[in-house]
Amino acid sequence: MRLVEIADLVVSFPQDEGVVQAVRGVSFHVDAGESLGIVGESGSGKSVTCMAALRLLREPPARISATALTLAGVAMLRASRRDLAAIRGKVAAMVFQDPMTAFDPVFTIGHQIAETIIAHQGGAKAAAMAQAETLLTRVEIKNPAAILRAYPHQLSGGMLQRAMIAMALSCRPQILIADEPTTALDVTVQAQILQLIKALQAELGMGLIMITHDLGVIAETVDRVVVMYGGKVMEQGPVAAIFDAPRHPYTVALLGSMPGAEPGRRRLVEIPGASPNPAQPPPGCPFHPRCPQADARCAAEMPPFRAIAPGRDAACWRLQ
């Protein structure tokens, strides 16, 4: 049984100006102990995909459908509110992008970690706090006792992110979803946090989904990567293969336009144009307006997502 199974996920938000199609048919899976990266730019639908998987979007207005959406065997679309509360935090936990706004400002860190533990495992507050302290040590916080009593506004971004990771892992989830966990942090702190997440994932044997726009982060942290654009998956495969030999034109262009890859001051390879507007996605392949290889078929028909090599899939007419 796959740890995470998502097939044909569609998420849309009807709004006054029209329907925003954030996710338009996304499929991927994660096995136990595996780490998957979802990389994409703003508007690609990567965050919405994972929020939808945990049913964290307000429905309505969001409309979610899929042929399969299971976490550890639980069909998320059919789960009741009570089931969902039992699953979130216990089976699958999430770490969010901005640690500074992720905590309730009127409660201490310790209280917020302890309440997660109590909610899923019951028990007394004192025991939960002790467990919280152990967790804070696990995420490499030097003075856990003091941090337990601290309020969110008293801590730096890096500390808060570690606390959020501790909170997410407090009930030993099988799946950890990290949504841009380091984007709001300094570069040096980012490196430490990523290393921490990777170590904890290996230690606890969890499945990891890492969402990011940063290709470097992907390269360092995950085994497999899914490249999303315009609400759809463009390419999928093992990380080394994707970086050494990208096949989809979008992946190729993305890797080519990364600054600092080569020494010296230089003009970079650009991708002309801008990301598609989710409220008015272009027909056919979402990348075709910016693709150097696009032809008439690309503009008219959406290419199917198919295997192009063992373990590698892509959605591109040029590759089939």
Binding site: L56, A86, A102, T116, Q154, M167
Partner: protein, 310 residues
Amino acid sequence: MTGFILRRLLSITVTFFIVSLLIFLAMHSIPGGPFDGGDMPMPEAVRATLMERYGLDQPLYVQYAKYMWGVLHLDFGIPFQSPGETVLELIGRAWVPSLVLGGLGVLIGAPLGILLGMAAALNRNSWIDYLASAFATLGLTIPVFVTSMGLILIFAVWLNWFPASGWPEPEKWVLPIAAYATIPLATYARYTRSAMLDTLNRPFVTVLRAKGLSERRIIFQHVLRNAALPMVTVFLPMFIGTATGSIFVEAMFRVPGMGAYFVSSIRTRDYPLEMALMLMLTVMFCLAYLISDILYAWLNPRIRFGGRKG
């Protein structure tokens, strides 16, 4: 913090004197005196004697100085319209019904308003929301004397459930309290609704759901506490404004409260009473705001525990 409080107390004192001066000047700028006209115009000699007795023939600055000197000794003079008692005794007597009815009105109306606001916020855009919001808007826009008349008409005349007069027996209090409660209820309903909606939109609420907490815990433990913070500061000033009595409610329900005196003291040029009432209001409001600010600083961890630990 100590510095803050001391500075505020100083500014309250300054405000006090400025207000006293302004009120004094305003009072005396209205033509006519307390002993002119009336039903039976009195002989000029009698009027002159009365004016001299109350010191009203003296220059204004002397009158002001004498009055404020008295105030500092907590002597607010004698009300012209009721010379058998001191101003303090009059206020002490008249304030009781206003405080009881107005105070209960706020103490009952505010929590009801909060509940209404919560229901509206949690069922956003549903019929509950529209009904609650409409009710709150009506509460704020319909003048209180119209509300009072409505209450009397419906509950005293048609249904005969409650009497139309409001004092002194407790069973007579229901309708005036209901009249007083409308504004706190409406205000808190609107406040609560928007504060809760604001809080519900904040990122940490999504994180709470992602942790698997029950919706009930999220609302009552987390959202309400965050939304309540700004609402705490509104309470004291609202209480003071209502518990000093509304002339309309007291007139409609024939309550011998303080509300009427605010207007009558101006009409009858009852200077000592007028000054005392205004000064009392000033000091109470200033203190109310000061206490609210301190309370807010105390409850908000960001202000109470500043500084970084990590």
